[in-house]
């Protein structure tokens, strides 16, 4: 029999199934249910037109300051700056900000230390380095998973993470 709690977690996992590895979500929720961790969530939304404006005004500097080479390649750069480029970058910027919220690190994390990495299977993960990685360790985050999308004028991203609450 499925408990009420299991049903709720199952629905949450299904909701993320299209864009993330659903086994990641089940693993996160199973660990949380075991009482060793709690779940931390961060969400951010980004206006795509603002990204388009930055690309027009400072194409080189904007990309170099905010996005890694891998992130730029994932949206088709170097190449023509079409609408899909801005939408893809807006999603990745929202994902970085969602991760910043999960890190609870305020404004101290460089944007490029949070890389939105595309896996061969097609979905994306968040790779941390430098101060971002140290912030994750300080916050006792043990794992995290990401989903982001865009439609119309905005992109949105959510990061779900597990924070260790019990010292083993």
């Amino acid at each position: 029999m499925t408990s009420q709690a299991d049903g709720r977690f199952g629905s949450l996992a299904a909701g993320y199934a299209e864009l993330v590895d659903v086994t990641d979500v089940h693993a996160l929720l199973a660990s949380s249910r075991a009482g060793d961790s709690d779940v931390v969530v961060g969400t951010d939304v980004q206006e795509i037109a603002a990204v388009e404006a930055a690309l027009r005004s400072h194409p080189v500097a904007y990309l170099a300051r905010v996005f890694t080479a891998h992130e730029q390649a994932c949206v088709g750069l170097p190449g023509a700056l079409g609408p899909s480029v801005a939408a893809g970058l807006a999603g990745r910027f929202a994902a970085k900000e969602a991760m910043v919220k999960v890190l609870r690190a305020g404004s101290a994390v460089p944007w490029r230390d949070i890389e939105i990495a595309r896996r061969p299977e097609g979905w994306c993960t968040v790779e941390l380095s430098g101060p971002a990685a140290r912030a994750a360790a300080a916050a006792r985050l043990t794992s995290w998973t990401l989903s982001f999308s865009h439609d119309g004028p905005v992109a949105v991203a959510t990061v779900v993470a597990l924070r260790q609450t019990r010292t083993i």
């Binding site: 930055a54 005004s57 500097a61 904007y62 300051r65 994390v109 460089p110 490029r112």
Partner: protein, 85 residues
């Protein structure tokens, strides 16, 4: 320098209030500046002061107040401003 920073905030900060009324220590994010707007502010600062922010300063904290922006600019060799609010 403060006047230049305020003008950049007025044009690029997308603040819901007049940047000219901000105290130099006022938190720009709490005043309504979005994270992405702070990127545009950073790019405009590079144009205006002919500098390039190094990796260590490419974080939201650098742009969270007029004072913090000023300190970052000074660290990059821009002359120190007279302290007025």
């Amino acid at each position: 320098m403060y006047d230049d920073i305020r003008e950049i905030l007025r044009v690029h900060g997308r603040l819901p209030i007049d940047a000219g009324t901000l105290d130099i220590d006022e938190d720009l994010y709490r005043s309504g500046m979005t994270s992405h707007a702070s990127v545009n502010v950073m790019l405009a600062l590079e144009d205006t002061f002919d500098i390039e922010f190094p990796d260590a300063l490419l974080r939201k904290a650098t742009f969270e107040s007029i004072s913090s922006i000023s300190q970052a600019l000074i660290s990059l060799g821009v002359p120190t401003p007279a302290r007025t609010s």
